[in-house]
Point group: C2
Chain length 351, copies 2
Amino acid sequence: MSSPPESTPAPVPAPGTRPRRATSADVAREAGLSRATVGYVLNDVPHQKIPEVTRQRVRDAAARLGYTPSAAARSLRSGRSDIVLCLMPDWPVGPSVLALLDALSVRLEGHGYTFVTHHRSAASRSLAETWKAITPAVVLVLDDLPAADTAALAAAGVRVVNANDPTGELGAGGLGAGGVRIGRRQAEHLWERGRTRLGYAYPDDPRVGTFARPRLQGVRDVCRERGLAEPVVVEVPTEPEAADRALARWRAAGVDGLCAYNDELAVAVLGSAARTGLAVPAELGVVGVDDTVLSRLVQPALTTVAVRFDRAAARVAAVLAGGAIGPLEADRRSLPSGPEDELRLLVRRSS
Amino acid sequence: MSSPPESTPAPVPAPGTRPRRATSADVAREAGLSRATVGYVLNDVPHQKIPEVTRQRVRDAAARLGYTPSAAARSLRSGRSDIVLCLMPDWPVGPSVLALLDALSVRLEGHGYTFVTHHRSAASRSLAETWKAITPAVVLVLDDLPAADTAALAAAGVRVVNANDPTGELGAGGLGAGGVRIGRRQAEHLWERGRTRLGYAYPDDPRVGTFARPRLQGVRDVCRERGLAEPVVVEVPTEPEAADRALARWRAAGVDGLCAYNDELAVAVLGSAARTGLAVPAELGVVGVDDTVLSRLVQPALTTVAVRFDRAAARVAAVLAGGAIGPLEADRRSLPSGPEDELRLLVRRSS
DNA sequence: CTATCGTACTTGCACGAGCAAGTTACACGA
DNA sequence: TCGTGTAACTTGCTCGTGCAAGTACGATAG
């Protein structure tokens, strides 16, 4: 190629040799120093007397060669990588979970970790294969993990944080156990609006049980505290006819306030109500969960409980990065926010 | 230690020492062989004459110790890991993309790879930091990548596959360029139903442009081929009022068939139509994209174009795992399916 | 003129796996 | 009895880092 001769902006590799990343040895050679010195400078190792001139020499050389340490070598040496692996459940995750991932990613990067997710489906090979191919520092589990896998991870010295375990490191505010709070918020809102007979739209997908159970529990708790009857729980598959049948059952039971597992189910009910001529919110108040885009678009706009993932992420990231499994109470006091601030009720027309 | 002498079922680590994974050296010691032999047996290295008895001895020892190779050491030695890193865009991904991830994950596992995704948002640190912390074998990019990052990856010998680049390894059937086909399918369906004036609901989020542009192009192409007027393109934010305004513009232009960028926008329009008393499908046919759960629930049920991700995943996985950047045409002929089979039109009530 | 000390480095091993090249041990043929 | 061949291994180097322990050198003290 006939490019101008005087400029070599990119590090052009010797022709024939395939591109090789610069190593710390390359940097050492470039700087006229030993590998060790380079390591000390670049890792800011304390108690090493290295004058600023030399430090700069090293940093310049590193910059010139575009040096970045090899993750493989580093984690071979140190025994663990700086990767946080999030195991995604095999059930469909909603947009809220995605928002959490984004937020977590940013937070953990701030702590020097790399956040990565693995979607495993039922057809996936053994989980062990996966984490062994990565050796993460921490594994964040969103749903439940087979006991065998948990044990294997623990045996290998990998920290496992389960977002749904109220007794785990994340404490009761963990993501799923926060589900109790979500249910409470829905029910309390309906109660405040004068609804006296509550219904619950429960998902028919057994895989989301980990999330659904605590939410329903929250609704139950509120009913008991407020002296209302037990909520009328109906499992609702996401099909129009199913929603119609469910709605019929709630009407028969005199339900005037409905908590749905998520916005999707809430919308199914809303559609059914429109079809069968049931007035929302006049005859039935409906509250969803997630604040999906959709919840603003439907008629009437859906009242919904949103999780403030920016705050939740900060808390989770702090725990993940904290490492030390200290006394929970002390930990929680120092955390950026409590689980209480992490919910927000968006009151729209449907309630 | 006073443990029963005859039984050591679980590999009990010496008390005080933190659990350490078994290495191939441990296996060698256990089997009474050298490390090299262990390596040859476990990796099934050809041209090594190792009798079946010995092989079994090694495998037994490995099983007894629960040995699994260290990914770090392996990728230090070989220069690359068996990880395929998928860079998720910072815009909200729909359920269809998630399905693709699941399918890809399964497929790539079949090829011995581990599939992992990284959600990067605008606030993320430089991409370079991320891939250097992982050294993946291949990077699958869903949206566009800054040229600097592409160059850096290439320079480090990491293969980059861009799902949206029609000129890339995935060929014109890549995921986004398949978008042209999606748009075509929507428009052709409406044309077949006798619609003569088409509109397009374009997303207002600039980040999804990579996906939206080819879809709109497909609609345009069909209009030209069928002798219809240019489609009336309106940018629709996902707010009810915006949908109302957009609908008014289409009505004014005499639009009787509407292609929406995705189901979400289609639903917004449907809601608007219901509110303003426009009959769907009598006065306006609407076609979405994605086959979200929602599309079956709304009134009227939404006609939509679904991507058959099982098939798309098979093709993408084959390219990712294939490695060799061979002649595209030859490659494509041997692939499990062509991009044409990967779309499915689900005709429901809205058209 | 040596002993001591602190600075500014370097030498060298370890991490765990892959693999080329070398080494045994034994069988078979001349 | 001595090659010669081959099956069945082992030795030893390599990948790139981190870090403990060593060393060279100049300055100062005795």
